[in-house]
């Protein structure tokens, strides 16, 4: 039986007189174009005289570029442009001013297998490929480092000269008095958890189309999680005014964190179109998508945790090493987020976190949906160990430590709404957790994970969202918003909200979005902020338009605007739907009166803009936080170590489900990516810096035949600020699913796993070398404080 519990607060319905559209599972507005194949993705774009772009990449993990000779490639018939680092003046990209370490085309050195060295634009793919083979690059190979431990060794080769011991980012957080608190603890334990790299494997490989125009502007299409951020970066790098870099709307085939950053590809494609005066299309192969966009971080985390005799965490001291690959990317954020999710989830009166992001000669690591597997799975695994030691069950120990509404996180974020306790209780009840946990059958296990994520970060001038609404003569409306849809349903969310407010059907509302020329600034979809900020901005624009409609309608209906209601394409006095006036008529009247309806709305989250990832990690991080709990039930084949997940029960406090069907889809996708794939099979494997499994064949993301039954439970805490109370959907399930799978396999075998993912090989190894007592399966050297010489 598939169960979908969608409970609504009765009193809320009464207070709001019921919503007509939000809170309902209305099919997505973009679904039709996707089931007919009409939806245009970047690679589907065809423009007249378009050229094919291709990138020449470093075949070595670490090498000096001695010479690049492009003369033969340039002479090849059908080649229109060849560019190298010499054409870019060594322009560097970095998310922050202090992390600008990546040359958009390498000039002096390559730092990973896949680093961009040169690019061509040619008549077609075959000519472009041949041109690449004619570019002669002379390299001097350098010794490389491929994991955190060898990279921080004092004698390790430096990947970037200005970063001693290859430490790229250091995040330090220290709240309360950790050492003093440890002394008061009934139990203190330290364990180390290791996770390998995971990756996105969105079905659409990365692609860019760029076109330059006579007025000096460029248009760019590409899968992205923030058109405005991409435009800004391109404007800087190309030295073209921001208003002339027009990132266009395009259908996007998944992101999961992997489309957030700026890549050399879009810069290169722009450079090629500017050089040739012709549109250029660059389509990544699946391998390029794997190695030359982003991937997750491999991570080593040591948690030292002290509790009182009831299992309440009094102090935690955590050190994490993140394998960042060759460049900074979103390093300061990536290093912080695993801790931040954690401090939101659990109460921590005294906590210290020291996070190091370490350079290696591997592809660049970025943000991913299940960010920090070793951190999160380590926390929950260790909590289960403590619970066993104290004779407490996993549910109780989580409830005792779970974040409550109204509290403040250690780094100073007020948590206005929080349904974590409800998520824990509901998943435990629905899965019959305690009975299954206690009546343990050999080889079968049940585990719980809990987590929390943000809705946005302090992003300064690009942290908010604005929206406009115009009306058509027939009473239909067009919404204009900067929010981008990566596939999760943001476009639909905006339309469903606007239609609700305006009393229209979703079919009456059109949307223009994610185009930097036409739509106003938006934070982008990468910090789970789209519904919270973008949804609020559209809601406010719609309310503004509605007030304008009501003012005009009040003359017609001879009623006070505050007594009016918009519903079913009509405006009428509350309680008298039969004597209304059509919205179309009001719109037309407004046109005659010279008062056309033009709704505008904006939303900027109330966060502490002084907060900075490294220099000032305190203050309000996000205005709202989502919370989730997942319970997984597994069966383990103890001969092979293969794990079969049978049932997953997940609950998330998403604030309010604007569209429960879409929210459930996010949960289910989260379980597949975070739990089934993320915890059982997905990892990148390496050989001296070469990724052994860049392909979908060898990277083991799950198929439909691998998936367990999923029960989704929507919990609604009704956030005071989110639109209708909505926050974020899905990511905290992806994370808690990873933790739940991990704890379930552990429970099945009586083993505490500390190396992820739990491939059959690791599971079998742990079974064969099972330890006595409450210990992790493997002994890893702990991550410790790194003494760094002060940078000058």
């Amino acid at each position: 039986m598939r169960l979908s519990v969608h409970e609504r607060l009765e009193d809320l319905i009464l207070a709001e007189e019921g919503y007509t559209l939000v809170g309902k599972s209305i099919p997505r507005i973009d679904a039709r174009s996707k089931v007919t194949g009409e939806a245009v993705f970047t690679a589907d774009l065809e423009l007249p005289r378009m050229l094919a772009g291709k990138v020449l990449r470093s075949p070595y993990p670490h090498a000096r570029i001695v010479n690049i000779d492009t003369s033969r490639a340039k002479k090849l018939r059908g080649v229109y442009a060849v560019v190298t680092g010499q054409d870019t003046a060594g322009e560097k990209w970095g998310v922050f001013r202090y992390t600008r370490d990546q040359q958009l085309l390498c000039v002096d050195k390559v730092r990973y297998v896949g680093d961009e060295v040169a690019a061509v634009a040619a008549a077609n793919d075959d000519v472009a490929q041949e041109a690449l083979s004619l570019i002669q690059v002379e390299y001097e190979e350098l010794p490389g480092v491929f994991d955190c431990w060898s990279s921080i060794a004092p004698d390790a080769p430096l990947i970037h000269d200005e970063f001693p011991r290859n430490v790229n980012v250091e995040v330090k957080i220290d709240v309360g008095d950790v050492e003093a608190a440890f002394k008061k603890c009934a139990l203190v334990r330290e364990d180390t958890f290791v996770a390998e790299e995971d990756s996105y494997f969105m079905t659409e490989p990365y692609a860019v189309v760029a076109n330059s125009h006579a007025d000096g502007s460029v248009e760019v299409w590409m899968p992205n999680a923030s058109p405005h951020t991409k435009a800004k970066a391109l404007s800087n790098a190309l030295r073209i005014p921001l208003s002339k870099v027009n990132v266009r709307k395009i259908t996007i085939g998944g992101a999961f964190g992997g489309r957030s950053d700026v890549f050399p590809a879009e810069f290169i494609t722009c450079l090629l179109t500017l050089r040739t005066g012709r549109p250029v299309k660059l389509i990544y192969t699946r391998e390029e998508n794997s190695i030359a966009t982003r991937k997750g971080h491999a991570m080593i985390t040591t948690h030292k945790t002290g509790v009182d005799n009831e299992g309440r965490v009094l102090a935690r001291d955590t050190v994490s090493y993140l394998d960042g690959g060759a460049y900074s990317s979103t390093g300061p954020i990536a290093t912080s987020v695993p801790f931040l999710c954690h401090e939101q989830t659990y109460r921590l009166p005294n906590v210290r976190f020291t996070g190091y992001r370490i350079y290696t000669n591997k592809p660049i690591a970025g943000m991913i949906r299940i960010h920090g597997r070793s951190f999160a799975c380590g926390v929950d695994t260790q909590l289960d160990m403590i619970a066993e030691e104290l004779g407490i069950d996993p549910v109780t120990i989580r409830l005792r430590n779970a974040r409550q509404p109204g509290e403040t996180t250690p780094t100073g974020s007020h948590v206005a709404s929080c349904g974590l306790t409800e998520c824990i209780e509901k998943t435990a009840k629905e899965s019959n957790f305690l009975e299954k946990f206690k009546n343990h059958q050999p080889g079968r296990g049940i585990g719980m994970g809990i987590n929390s994520v943000q809705t946005g970060f302090p992003l300064g001038i690009r942290g908010g969202s604005q929206a406009f609404i115009k009306f058509h003569e027939d009473g239909g409306a067009t919404v204009n918003s900067g929010v981008v849809d990566n596939g999760q349903g943001n476009d639909h969310m905006l339309v469903q909200i606007a239609a609700e407010e305006l009393g229209l059907g979703v079919e009456d509302v059109r949307l223009i979005s994610a185009d930097t020329e036409i739509t106003a600034t938006d934070a982008g979809s990468y910090s789970m902020i789209s519904t919270f900020a973008g949804g609020n901005a559209v809601k406010r624009a719609a309310e503004d338009a509605k007030m304008q409609l009501f003012e005009i309608a009040s003359d017609i209906l001879e009623a006070d605007p505050s007594d009016l209601v918009a519903r079913d394409k009509k405006i009428f006095v509350k309680g008298a739907p039969d004597v209304g006036v059509s919205i179309a008529k009001v719109v037309r009247k407004g046109l005659i009166m010279g008062r056309p309806i033009m709704g505008k709305g904006a939303f900027n989250p109330d966060v502490d803009q002084r907060r900075e990832w490294i220099t000032n990690p305190k203050g309000q991080l996000s205005q709202a936080f989502s919370f989730g709990a997942t319970v997984t039930e597994v069966e383990v084949d103890t001969d092979t170590g293969m794990v079969k997940a049978e049932t997953v029960t997940c609950a998330q406090d998403c604030g309010f489900a604007v569209n429960p069907m879409i929210v459930e889809g996010q949960f289910e996708g989260g379980v597949a990516m975070g739990g089934q794939g993320g915890m059982l099979g997905e990892e990148h494997r390496w050989h001296k810096g070469y990724c052994l499994n860049p392909s979908m064949l060898e990277y083991k993301m799950p198929t439909i035949a691998d998936m367990p039954r999923i029960n989704s439970i929507i919990v609604e805490s009704i956030d005071p600020v989110g639109p209708y109370g909505a926050k974020e959907a899905g990511m905290s399930i992806a994370m808690s699913a990873a933790q739940a799978y991990c704890c379930a396999v552990g429970h099945a075998l009586g083993i505490y796993f500390n190396h992820y993912p739990l491939t059959s090989e690791r599971v079998l190894d742990a079974i064969e070398n099972k330890k006595e007592g409450i210990q992790t399966a493997w002994d890893f050297p702990p991550a410790r404080f790194i003494e760094l010489e002060k940078k000058e």
Binding site: T36, P205, G487, A705
Partner: protein, 161 residues
């Protein structure tokens, strides 16, 4: 390498094209015929986004030479869509929330259609097997499974028992 003629029926229309032997069916459909609903997700026959129906059977067009499809009937997502309305599988994918980013959707729908044509009343395992060659990264497959079940239920004549 010389171009060779190839004849086939694509979405009910007879086509004759001159293609280089190294042209895949995927490239022919996308580049020559503009059928962009056929997606290229991996180019190695793994992801299933390039799935089209060849004589009613799902095949990976990225691993099929255009010349090898000589004389066959090809159906792409564009050809599945009736002039009015939608195919029941398409409708079910919309109604059940089985569509997120949409990149895998054409392949999923065509594989589902082929299954239901062959087996109008499939079990859950039948559906899982039939769709096991198509990867979706967004949905966790739950709603795709629901959609195919719903399409099957809508298809099955209740009088059939």
């Amino acid at each position: 390498m010389k171009k060779q003629l190839v004849n086939m029926t694509v979405n009910g229309e007879e086509v004759e094209l001159a293609v280089y032997p190294n042209t895949t069916l995927l490239e022919m459909l996308r580049v020559e015929l503009g059928l962009m609903g056929v997606k290229e997700g991996c180019s190695e026959g793994v992801c299933g986004t390039c799935t089209v129906l060849l004589n009613g059977q799902p095949v990976r067009s990225c691993l099929t030479l255009a010349l090898e499809a000589e004389g066959s009937e090809i159906l792409t997502i564009e050809g599945l869509t009736p002039e009015d309305g939608l195919h029941p599988v398409q409708q079910a994918f919309i109604d059940r929330g089985a569509v997120q980013c949409g990149f895998c959707t054409p392949g999923m729908i065509l594989s589902s259609k082929a299954l239901l044509d062959r087996n109008p009343n499939p079990s859950e395992d039948d559906i899982k097997t039939a769709l096991s060659g198509s990867f979706c990264r967004c949905t966790g497959y739950t709603k795709i499974l629901d959609a195919v079940k719903a399409a099957a239920a809508a298809h099955v004549d209740p009088s059939d028992g």
